[in-house]
Amino acid sequence: MKIPIDVIPERAGHLGVVEIPACDQRTLPGVVSQRACVLYGARWMLAPVRNVIHLIHGPVGCAYYSETVRKKRYRVFSTALDEKDIVFGAGQKLETAIRESLSLRPGSSAVLVYTTCAAGLIGEDVPAICKRVSAALGLPVVPVNCPGFCGVSQGDGHDAAAAALLEHFIGRGPAGPPLENSVNILGEFDVQGDLKEIEQLLQRLGLNLICAVSGRATVENMARAHRARLNIVHCGRTGRWLARKMEERFGIPWRKVSFFGLAEAAAALQAIAAFFNRPREAAWVEKEAEAARQRALPYLRRLAGRRVALFFGASRMGSMARAFGELGMEVVLCGSQFGCREDYAESRRCLGQGTLMIDDAHQRELEEFLHRYRPDLLVGGTREKFMAHKIGIPFLVFPQETSPYAGFNGFVNLAREVAALVGAPVWRLMIPANLVEPPARREGPAGGDSAAVKTVGDGKGGNEDGTNL
């Protein structure tokens, strides 16, 4: 099947309407990439780890930006490398900085040292320094190997972070028999209270949460994590690897589930209940799901048949596609910045053929997609938001900014907010109908009427005259 938007030849394999797009590859230079660097990925994963000093070994900018993760601010320490350090090395400075940050914040139980492009390029032996300081101070000083260029996307940063957690924190406590009815959640970041929703559901099954990596991760609870009976993997990209390793090392089985959407959340709870051999205690699940569906019904009426485009970080594509399906919306695009084959395969399974999938879409491709398809909603991160608005398309930020979307209550929140966004008056007011002659409306059938939108410079020999319509 033909790809419905224009791309540079090198990018053709990354889009597909039938097959799974090529993925996990380097970004093309020169495009406005929506991806981020490895340090970003590591911070995404490790920032919520509490009671630990986060020390960025790099120029001041890396520390400045690393303070904000998922719109929350965290205190960050940094070596703020300057010219002198680049030329003469910064090993001593790093060592001093570790000691100083501990005296500024006594009582911290570990130090995480993040490396950056600059630190990687000047060739500091950060692991050796950390090891030495750790021995001298008697507490873990953990190097996180995440120079920005050291991978294709932030996904590699998630892996580096997971490796650091596994090597230095998880299961460090005394060995013991598995704690009854206890679970860990891997790949859950507690965005706007998601974790609380999930925990409530698990408590109704009689289960206790030991630790959530990394939405609720402290040095203490990660040290006990090896005594869980089951690992629940929520975000596949950040959790799956860790789950496999914990299975190898501690023999903890794992289940990949999703708590987004009614069917998914119900299936997740039933699978977990089945694992703990208590299917009867899960009897309420169906009832709860049905009750939530009833509560969401008024919103679903307003959403039926609307078209939604999804562009995420990675692995929530499939489960969110299903959740939007339950809202009665048609998913017209499913894309991600750094999804892996498993993620795309899962999404393809639940979407079927014919839906466009894009890997590592850059801004230009998304823009063109929005013009040709004109979906009723784009779901993605802050960087895509304002472009969508300029084109006149409502936008939902996910991971969300307002209320939890996980669990049954979360689904009602999602329905309510999506209905409000799609029906927002601003999109009606956008065209000053009473003041000027309204321009010809483009109705947006899938497949695109390329005549309606003027594309500038597609492929090699384009027309550089970018006048408005």
Partner: protein, 492 residues
Amino acid sequence: MQLKEIPITGIPYDQIKIEKVPATPEYCERPADLIPSTNRAVVVNPNRTCMPLGAMWAVLGIRKAVPFVQGAQGCTTYVRYTFCRIFREPATIATASFHEDAAVFGGRRNLVEGIRNLVVRYWPELIGVVTTCSSEIIGDDMVSFIKMARANLRKEIGPEKADQIPIVLVNTPSFAGSHVDGYDRASRAFVETLATAKGEPNGKVNIIPGLLYPGDIREIKHLLRHMGIEATVLFDISDTLDAPLKPPTSVPYYPPGGTTVEEIKDMANSLATFALQPHAGQAGARYLERKYGVRAVVGQPPVGVQGTDAFLKALRDITGKPVPDSLLQERGRLIDSLADTFHHTMMKKVAIMGDPDIVLGVTRFVLEMGMEPVALAGGTASKTFVHDVEAILAEAGYEGEPPLIINGGDLFEFEEYLKKQPRLDLIIGNSRAVDISRELQVPLVRVGFPIYDRFGYQKRAIVGYRGGEVLLAEIVNSILGHQYPDDRTQQL
């Protein structure tokens, strides 16, 4: 939040001492020798970011220009994220996407292919190549890479089209200076690359605003319009980063406005160049002065009465045009507001943080309100900052306790110093002081870069007389909202 005690009738303000208990329960005393940032290697909550951001900011102020960042993806993503959050606008910034191979073999392939990809996808009118710490450490020979990229472009799209797109290189090694210096370097790089003397003066003035918001630039244009002066604003983000929503647009999206390449070329023929923020823009102004004899006027930003007066006076002296009545009316309104609210602002203790020029401008203004600065923290280390602050204090005849001046230190030092102060009424600074304001239970008036936790600050002005009124109102209202219980507010 708890309301403070009502000031008791008959006791002057400076005798009221309010016990400050830090809000965080796990607060502990820090070792005193580690508090000044000069005494330690570790930086906690830096008050500045790295150079490339300033250069990207600058490039986004050029009409249909795209910054191309020679570095890893994060250098672009973090900045785009920052701009998106501040301006609520799309920020089109291309990345060279450094991966391991670039770190080993250098970034030539990334630049040559990247420029080509950028051109065929965006057809920009200008490309600003911004370097980062990675490319500077690797030692990329950017000048020859750009030549190669140009040669490759001529092959692919033909020489006429290829030569129409200027490529401006801004060297911004992230391990030196700050975002303010990045903007400064961009101002020089652009005039150095593009400006050409024609021999005859064009009668205009050049304005290099520095890291001011779209609202500020619109206010500067308003002042110039009333003075009847034609001007070129270099890096004019007033439309590019505050664009109206008016679909349908063409693909790719470019915001309206921005300084054109022609205007930058013509900057060599102007009467004078005003660098409104000496730390961000002075380099460009000085270059034009040295090379083309265009007079450089470098002063503090036109914030408050004296700041705006100085700006208008310099404009009048250079162009010979008088300050019109309409602006004197605006001045009069600001003076009236200052007089009417003085009893609220006088003797209030204030701490100011941000980029050095903003701190200087605002300090001058708060002294006009009779406030007493407690601590002044400029995020970017500067040779002139301490001297400038002292000059401003002397000018105002300030006789109170001399404030702590932090020249390039971090926010940890600022915060720890403020915690020790017996009284503090107000913090003026950017969004990065929010945590400090919450911890100390002191209101924050948001000014400067970056403001991402509130809406609208990028659209309004703090410069000029009208901007002064806006800022004054916000300061007064913050003080009132914080210090008086509701029943008293009715009687003010």
